[in-house]
Point group: C2
Chain length 288, copies 2
């Protein structure tokens, strides 16, 4: 995998900074009433996330010839949805996690009730953002509705929430490969796939949409398999993971295979898709 670490690192930092700056300005200040709620929302939103989904969204916009600025509000909205999902997933009633990225989880800091409401408010803010004035001058009304439709479908009961339900509902049973694949493609894959499609949509990509959708599906699944592999090399339980059902070696090989296929999918896009190629390598090669 051919990857220029320095160029990629600059690329990622630049876009992450833009996403963070946008989100800081968009969300009500921590002093805004009710202050506890806005503090809790900001706590998880600025807890050091990689912003991989918004960066993929911006890169997809560029890959079809669009200016990344056009996709920035939508990219930020995607991160709002991702952050809400982490807060709710960490709750005692769900995965019951005390720490995320080395910091206490939202409910550990603010209590379960506030964490539930902070998640609800972040999810709501994602759709409000896309429907508001932030994209009003750069994109048609029709395209903005398509973005909301893509995001809502990916995040809803047939996408991310459906995958999360399947993940918590399997308690104690022995997983099949098909079930683990369903969870991965829905819980993680759906939002990553939507990030790519939304970026392409906002960049004006029409002929490239099918290829980018295939790329998004493969990168989404590869992302979660790499997560599984990293967990398996740590001290985590590997039940209901790719290493758990097909073994560690086969999982690494599968992530590599998906990476190669994703590159093949976007071959026709030429040099404009170079960031997407580098990001694919970043997703598969990352060590955390």
């Amino acid at each position: 995998m051919d990857i220029d670490q320095q160029v990629l690192s600059r690329y990622i930092t630049k876009r992450r900074t833009a996403v963070n700056r946008f989100l800081r300005a968009y969300l009500p200040a921590a002093s805004c009433n009710p202050s506890l709620l806005h503090k809790a929302m900001r706590y998880s939103l600025f807890a050091g996330g990689k912003r991989i989904r918004p960066i993929l969204c911006l890169a997809a916009c560029e890959a079809v010839g669009g200016k990344p600025e056009i996709a920035l509000p939508a990219a930020a909205a995607i991160e709002l949805v991702h952050t809400y999902s982490l807060i709710h997933d960490d709750l005692p009633a769900m995965d019951n996690d005390d720490y995320r990225r080395g910091k206490p989880t939202n409910h550990k800091m603010f209590g379960d009730a506030t964490a539930i409401l902070a998640g609800d408010a972040l999810l709501t803010a994602a759709f409000t953002l896309i429907a508001g004035q932030e994209m009003a001058n750069s994109v048609t009304h029709k395209t903005r509705l398509s973005v909301i439709s893509e995001l809502g479908t990916a995040a809803g009961s047939l996408g991310m929430v459906g995958g999360q339900l399947a993940d918590i509902a399997h308690n104690g049973q022995k997983p099949t490969f098909k079930q683990v694949q369903y969870i991965h493609t829905h819980k993680t894959g759906a939002l990553i796939r939507a990030s790519i499609r939304i970026g392409a949509l906002l960049g004006g990509g029409v002929t490239e949409m099918a290829a980018l959708t295939r790329y998004g599906e493969k990168i989404g699944l590869a992302f979660q398999i790499v997560d599984d592999v990293l967990d398996a090399k740590g001290t985590h339980n590997t039940d209901w993971t790719y290493p758990g059902v097909i073994g560690l070696r086969a999982s690494e090989a599968e992530a590599g295979r998906l990476y190669q296929e994703a590159l093949h999918d976007i071959k026709p896009l030429g040099p404009a898709a170079e960031p997407l190629r580098q990001l694919a390598a970043f997703v598969v090669e990352r060590k955390k």
Copy 2:
């Protein structure tokens, strides 16, 4: 208060049936994967709600001369938001209620995790619905974005979720009138006000919007005060309610005053607003 019970009852039943039929067709079937999630979503959505918010939305659309069918998808989306808020409010981490409308609450039937996710999915479905094909032929893209914006703002951290946070965060403190008013106008009032505004928007009301917004604010607050009064006459705790801070008599008088003001607000709208007048009386006179 002059109210023709039979006419009103027919009016309400007809529109409630239309909303229910729309929602039944829109939501994925209970057999749809993951089945547990869709069962949980449908359980609370069809647990016998009054559908007062969607009916107010349809009546506001009619009041400005629009056909109620145009507002039906948005009215249904409002009920999706309302139902999600009830599921999350009932959770053990929040109000910890075992029963709603005489039936076990969502988490009592399906467990806390599924209830959280069912609420998340209903909220997501509300925005997906408005952005999808259901309104595509009858309303401009711009208007649909405005509807999403209205709904998102009313439901979010500066509206309904903010009110709910204030309601759970006051633990043990002595309430002031101002605090109780803040909770009521946000937790309940914001979504009712938005229901009216969205109906007016979809009906093409421009000159009537200010009057209908005032009507919506008063009916929203009156609705919650009447709830408080009914609770106070039952066996409920009256802390943090209107009767708790200003007394039962003064609360009933305030609901009556708000009703009269709401009628005054929509006087210029003439006979088209007759359903809104009858619904206002229904809100204030109801016994449950």
